[in-house]
Symmetry: C5
Subunit: 252 residues, 5 copies
């Protein structure tokens, strides 16, 4: 078992990812005339010095030359779903590890809706991906989002820490989760995740100040960084904002 080099998408253990898988998850409602275009995103990723850009395989394939030219490391999401379907959440694998590699990915991502009736199906699929991806030298990132009937009435604090620990137990290099905006809780989550790095999901668009303050909290609490989408590519000056985030995370 050779060790995977997590610094393919991190810088000295810290990370700043540009997420752009919302087109499948929510449809184009999040987009405007500019950011509906993947070229715009690739440009931000490059000029904003992101550690990786997150795409579904379709965009990775159709804009492959542009991505390669940008030299931004590519993380391909291997599962996905629409929000048109109702009922207990499930997200099935829609891209193989081999296809991701052939598209130039150095990392793969996968979402598990912990607590869903279909949790076992997602855990099983992830486990096979983890094994294959690690064997082939890819960094493995898991999105753990507690959701569905099972988690009703449980505290955000407990669910966040559980998500972090789950990432470690199932073999992810990086676990991406939602931050409950309590530094102490995040600190415990980071501890629970052990050698697995904790990265925070960006969530809906907020004010710039609030966003930057949250990034500071995350880093202060020991988080490894953020995976941000809307807060960057919906902002007026994405590159400028990215630089501010970069400064917080990497100190320069």
């Amino acid at each position: 078992m050779k060790k995977v080099n997590v610094n393919k998408i991190m810088t000295r253990g810290k990370a700043m990812f540009l997420a752009y898988d919302q087109g499948l998850e929510h449809g184009p409602v999040d987009f405007n005339d500019k950011n509906v275009d993947p070229h715009y995103i690739i440009d931000i990723a490059k000029r904003g010095k992101f550690n990786a850009v997150i795409f579904q395989k379709g965009i990775a394939e159709k804009y492959n030359e542009e991505i390669k030219k940008s030299k931004v490391p590519l993380l391909i999401k291997l599962n996905g779903k629409t929000n048109m379907r109702k009922g207990e959440p499930i997200s099935k694998q829609i891209c193989s590890v081999d296809e991701a590699i052939s598209l130039g990915a150095v990392a793969v991502g996968f979402t598990i809706y912990a607590g869903s009736e279909f949790e076992p199906i997602m855990m099983r699929e992830f486990s096979k991906i983890e094994e294959e991806a690690h064997k082939k030298g890819l960094v493995v990132v898991v999105w753990i989002y507690p959701r569905g009937k099972g988690v009703k009435g449980r505290s955000e604090k407990e669910l966040m820490a559980y998500a972090g620990r789950m990432g470690l137990e199932i073999g992810a290099d990086i676990v991406k989760l939602h931050y409950n905006r309590n530094k102490k809780d995040l600190s415990w989550t980071v501890k629970s995740a052990g050698k697995t790095k904790v990265v925070i999901a960006g969530g809906v668009k907020t004010g710039e100040k609030e966003f930057l303050s949250e990034v500071k909290d995350i880093i202060g609490a020991g988080g490894a960084g953020i995976a941000v989408g809307r807060n960057i590519w919906k902002s007026k000056d994405p590159v400028e904002l990215s630089k501010k985030v970069h400064k917080i995370i990497f100190g320069k």
Copy 2:
């Protein structure tokens, strides 16, 4: 990853497909004594200068010599269902990529009922087809039809744009969808689909004038063309009508 040449079934990025998979989807109720016969369809496809004819594998096999002789490019639908079954829609793969190739197909098609309880199953099947078909040089067309419990109460505009974007995200070269008859909405849909081409489904038989005016709108809004069945092969003079459509789409 070699690039697939979409012009196997397009002419400079525009397309006019003759759809004839209604026999499985609806039974022969759409047919009369003439158009019940695949020979009649192949003849229209040839003389009407269609970019491709769309068949299920059974017709592609039983009328294989006639299709080859016509030189019309062949697009085989890889999944299908009857309308006898009720409940949440699902359409399973009933033809392999290899069988399609052995029958002479240069393109394959697949329907996803987005929003159905079974959406994850169809997305998973499509994803494997996309990978294999692209590896083997076939053009990949996805029909995205939002349907089922999940989409109740959502606007046609939003669903159309979502369908277009979904086609891009999951790796189709061409996405086929229903037009809500609003040019501005279609224009946004085309933008959302990025480098994936948008082709409009023909739908039920309407008057010739109305049909031609719709084709004009589609092209005007940036659509790549149409996949039409009943409006052509149920018309009095299918070849004549096809020429009029051809003129709108290709300007000659």
Copy 3:
């Protein structure tokens, strides 16, 4: 793609099959002391000059020498079920194409309950069988029986024509279906099935006169023949009756 020779179980496009898969579908209730014995059936098939005899794999294996000696072509049903199970109908594959070949089959059969909740599962299984069986030179026969919640309230005429068309679309060489006893409807069904041959299921035991008159109607309406069981092997003189049927179908 080499063409399969349908005349392995037809004579100049006409067919007369002896069906004996009732033991699994209904149990031995259809049988008496004579016809419970497969030897009796094999003898009728031979002396009655049937184009093929239809068995499940168990009988094909245990009476293999007798079948081979009779020289009657063998059609093995690849799926089956009991009538003990209730609920939406489903019939799963219980014999592989390779096992059928090793037992000496020149043709394979498969039932699809169109309209059942489980239609997609049966269509998927059939599609794989069709591909493999055709590749290996076997004639492919599909039983299409609309049944289950989905078909309530639909006319027999429409369902029969749909069954015929479905046989063509999904790639069967021969489609076996129930006759609604209306020649005009059958004629339309035959047309809808195109190059796929239409064979009528025998159904429950009726009077000899009525049975022979029905066979005449079937042939008159363009049907390719019949697959008959109980009306033959429950009759007093099966071989004599078979000769009368033979005369109607083949004119001698």
Copy 4:
């Protein structure tokens, strides 16, 4: 297709099997301090001259040397379940054909709960086992137990005959079923099963006299023998009783 030699576990077409798969099906409630120990069973099987002993793979593996030393032919049950689970009955494969062979089995067994909602799953699994086991020269025994929602209100006579016929149709060499204690019905069942041998399940412990009289009836009605467990290994002198049974079945 080479013929399997059923006399690996029969003597001139008659059989006496010692069943000991109750530990999984019912838990140890059937056992006492003596018969809880597989050594005790192996000893009875040997000294009672049984044609085969029936074990799950776990016992076959842990007591493998003892079984081999006894020279009693080994029949391994390939599926099984506990009675802790409620709902429609299903018994999944838990031992592969290859593992059974590696443990020294010359025959394999499989239970189908005909009429259960899950009948199709069990029939499909059995069909693959039958194909592989026969190819590798093993005798194939099927337990057919009509059970579940589907069989309510049907007569024991009809279900017993159906079970026998089903065994023949799906390719078993031997079908094991429950006897309804009517010789005429069993005689018809044996006829319905054709060349497939009918063996009767022992059932719960009864008085010795009643048990022996039942064995006589079974043989008298044409049955091939019995698969008995509790009536032997719960009796005071299992070997003595086995000799009496042996005398009835084999005449010595």
Copy 5:
């Protein structure tokens, strides 16, 4: 079939395992600042002379060097679930036998919730693991926990004995189960399990005295040992306590 050497994780048939798979099953709620860290656990396992430490694959991979250095034999749990999901219990395989081997495991573990609606799925998965793991020389441990709708109203005594027997029947080398705190019942369970060793699950944290007295009872009743987690790593002096346990189990 070569015999697996169970003493890879036992000492003359007795065992003392340190369980640490609670992070996935319950989240980090069981942990404090010390024992949340796998290093702390590995240290206890080494200094406390445990026969094996039980991890999920994620911890086995991220702390692989530390584990190897400790020389404590590694048992990897191959399935797992969170307690966020509600409904009938199911635990799917999330680590392959090959991955476990590549991580240095000499034994694998698997949980079956007997009585659950999903019991057949877990039994089927376990059966494949058992076959592969034994072929590759690993010790196979099964956790059998009767749970779900099916077991309501059944006595703990009966369920414990059933669990033990089930372990034997399905081929485990060691069965891990819950002790009902009745020595006579455990004695019968051990007898029912035959050559399969019975190890008792530690359960929730209790007082040290009570815990040690329970260990004595287990050994006295013929149990092979314990798999303990919280009672050790939540205690004030885990190593000291481990030595006391060691003395009871191994006499020194």
